[in-house]
């Protein structure tokens, strides 16, 4: 369960709270990095590992919600767990709507925080996996020649080889060759597999109607 790679960031202006959070998370066997302000956190280096952020809502200067917004704008996709001394409903709603994993009111039980951290890390892992998958797919797609991409677009929109040939004004045999290249380069096991990939890649269906 414990991922030695995973790292938890903590941002809280109160030294005692910050230290105690660091200690608690370390005692659960996770790596942790603490920051006294949102700016300090933004200035720090990004890591290539599953991570999440434990963030105090009421920070002096740039507040927790401000930081959440900044991160969304800067494409920093780290799941956030908010902690606060006084949880008011409007702030909670705003934070959750903006995609926070959890909103905890201090003081909280250790397992509430650690469970949330587990969830957040899981979410990040999934996201990271999806991202890696997408990058892989995109790479495969980019390895196709322009003609192969045209063929792929028409095939996934449900056209038969003959129809594709007619559409492109080429020989049916040539279509078959292109199609075989596409299936191989995209590492698609079946036509259904290829369709799923095209959906993920959001490839436009090129059939002229």
């Amino acid at each position: 369960m414990v991922d030695p790679e995973a790292i938890v960031f903590v941002v809280d202006d109160d030294e005692s709270v910050r230290e105690s959070l660091g200690g608690l998370i370390r005692s659960a066997g996770m790596r942790v990095e603490t920051f006294a302000s949102a700016r300090q956190f933004l200035a720090g280096p990004r890591v290539d590992a599953p991570s999440c952020l434990v963030l105090d809502v009421h920070l002096p200067g740039l507040s927790g919600l401000d930081l959440q917004k900044r991160m969304a704008e800067g494409d920093i996709e780290i799941p956030i767990i908010f902690i606060t001394g006084r949880g008011d409903i409007p702030t909670t709603v705003r934070a959750m709507k903006a995609g926070a994993v959890e909103f905890l009111t201090k003081p909280f039980h250790d397992h509430d925080l650690l469970d949330s951290i587990g969830q957040a890390l899981e979410r990040d892992r999934t996201a990271r996996r999806r991202q890696a998958e997408m990058a892989e797919l995109r790479g495969r797609y980019e390895s196709l020649t322009p003609r192969e991409r045209e063929v792929m677009g028409l095939v996934v929109s449900g056209l038969l080889n003959k129809q594709v040939a007619a559409e492109l004004g080429i020989n049916e045999g040539t279509v078959k060759v292109h199609r075989g290249q596409v299936m191989q380069k995209m590492r698609a096991a079946s036509l259904a597999d290829l369709v799923r990939m095209s959906e993920k890649l959001e490839i436009p269906h090129t059939k002229k109607s």
């Binding site: 005692s16 200690g23 005692s27 006084r86």
Partner: protein, 484 residues
């Protein structure tokens, strides 16, 4: 109408009586002098005396009548040839003319004098009436301080007779608790020749002691010597009662706003306690985890436990500070280090201010004299000014938000505390209106804070005022009397 008729009738009989009186006296004198063969000069002198007497007691016409009759008698009975008028010599003309002229002049003069006397008497009566009627206790005293005059109101008020009042100078009516002080003040005023204004309780005729405002001023002659002391005493009992009631309701309101301010503080305090509490829980959990692991990490567990103690102490300090702020002290004023009071308030508000992005800075004079004040009330004043200052700055972006609290010795006998913000300032606001009750610029404000702060400061013999800064923001400052 009836009255003036009566007066005319009275005047007529009076004149008639005077005519009769003049006639009888003249007749008697003439008879006596004739019997004694008095010479004409003696008789003329006697007649003149009669004329003087008559003109002193009556008006001009009877006196003139007596003069003429006297002359006729003189000419008839005492001037040769007797019993008939004669005009043989120059003397016979000069003598009667001289006599008549003299007697007329005397008559005239006398009636003038009499009239003046009457006027003076009327004036005196009027003055006396005025002094007795004006709604105040009026009295005068001699330069040595002994009572000389007491007006009717004074006598009615105290129920003392004039003799009693004058003998004791009213001392007997002064409340025993006030007498020594009052007499000291009175003697000091007499010695220095300075006007006196003081208050003392005086026993009213019905036995009730009531507060009187006593004012005395000296009257000096042209050389500057004090001739007399004039004093008035005004019953201020009802005024005093109203004042007391007002001050009581003020105190009640002060309590209400204090509770409200405490409410605002409570949020900040809750946070203050919550932080270490939350840290303690985290550290406790961490500590257990370190101990419960397959290979317990005692160093980490020890470190977590150490932090628990530290944060526990921190929470304890917060509680101690709140206790200090809420401590019930009686409202008696005592020797107070106002710098300490400022520090207490700043400690409690520092965090709340920081959360609003405001830094609190103190610049407290080391040589500040101790003041005479009520700790809790003055805490409230400072708390109020600090919170106002913080609030004023939260709506001003782009400026350094710093609230400066200064203390300084002020004039020779005062201490000054100033709270200076760099907030929205007081542009276009009436500086005095700020201190009116129910005047507020804040959406949640009740408009009591400054009004009550001012009444507290004034109750301490100090002054609270606001002034715009040269730069942005405003300064609220107050003075307090030095503890003697």
């Amino acid at each position: 109408m009836f009255k003036s008729d009566q007066r005319r009738i009275y005047g007529f009989w009076r004149s008639a009586a005077q005519f009769l009186f003049g006639g009888v006296i003249l007749t008697l004198l003439t008879y006596v002098c004739f019997q004694f063969q008095a010479n004409s000069t003696t008789v003329a002198l006697i007649y003149l005396i009669v004329i003087v007497v008559v003109s002193l007691t009556s008006s001009f016409i009877p006196a003139a009548f007596v003069s003429i009759v006297a002359y006729i008698c003189l000419d008839t009975f005492f001037t040769a040839p007797l019993f008939r008028p004669a005009m043989r010599e120059l003397l016979d003309v000069v003598a009667p003319v001289t006599f008549l002229t003299t007697s007329f002049v005397i008559t005239r003069l006398m009636s003038r004098v009499r009239k003046s006397f009457q006027e003076i008497q009327a004036l005196k009566d009027q003055l006396r009436l005025a002094i007795d009627t004006i709604p105040g206790l009026v009295w005068s005293a001699l330069p040595d301080g002994s009572a000389e005059f007491l007006n009717q109101r004074w006598l009615e008020y105290t129920g003392l007779s004039l003799k009693e009042g004058l003998d004791w100078g009213g001392k007997v009516a002064v409340h025993t608790d006030d007498l020594a002080r009052f007499m000291d003040e009175w003697r000091a005023a007499l010695a220095e020749g300075k006007p006196l204004e003081t208050e003392a309780r005086l026993r009213r005729a019905d036995g009730e002691y009531r507060w009187l405002l006593v004012r005395v001023v000296p009257l000096r002659d042209e050389t500057g010597k004090i001739v007399k002391w004039y004093g008035t005493s005004t019953d201020v009992e009802d005024l005093k009662r109203t004042e007391e009631a007002l001050s009581k309701s003020h105190a009640e309101l002060a309590h209400v706003t204090r509770v409200m301010t405490m409410g605002e503080l409570a949020a900040s305090i809750a946070h203050e306690v919550n932080q270490p509490l939350s840290a303690i829980m985290n550290n406790g959990s961490a500590c257990l985890r370190w101990l419960n692991g397959a290979a317990p990490d005692l160093d980490e567990a020890r470190e977590a436990a150490r932090r628990i103690i530290r944060d526990g102490n921190r929470a304890g300090e917060v509680i101690t500070r709140i206790r200090a702020l809420l401590r019930k002290t009686d409202t008696e004023k005592a020797r107070l280090d106002i710098n300490q009071t400022v520090r207490e308030v700043v400690m409690l508000t520092r965090n709340g201010a920081a959360r609003k992005g405001v830094t609190l800075r103190m610049d407290l004079a080391a040589d500040l004299p101790p003041v005479l004040g009520d700790r809790v009330q003055l805490q409230q004043v400072i708390l109020n000014l600090v919170m106002n200052g913080v609030e004023a700055m939260t709506s001003t972006p782009g400026r350094p938000r710093e609230l400066l609290i200064r203390s300084r010795p002020y004039e020779s006998d005062k201490a000054l505390v100033a709270v200076q913000d760099s907030g929205v300032g007081l542009d276009g606001q009436d500086l005095e209106k700020l201190f009116d009750a129910f005047y507020t610029t804040k959406p949640q404000g009740m408009g009591m804070g400054l009004a009550i702060s001012r009444s507290i400061v004034e109750d301490h013999g100090g002054r609270l005022w606001a002034s715009p800064n040269d730069g942005p923001g405003a300064t609220f400052q107050f003075t307090l009397l030095k503890y003697q």
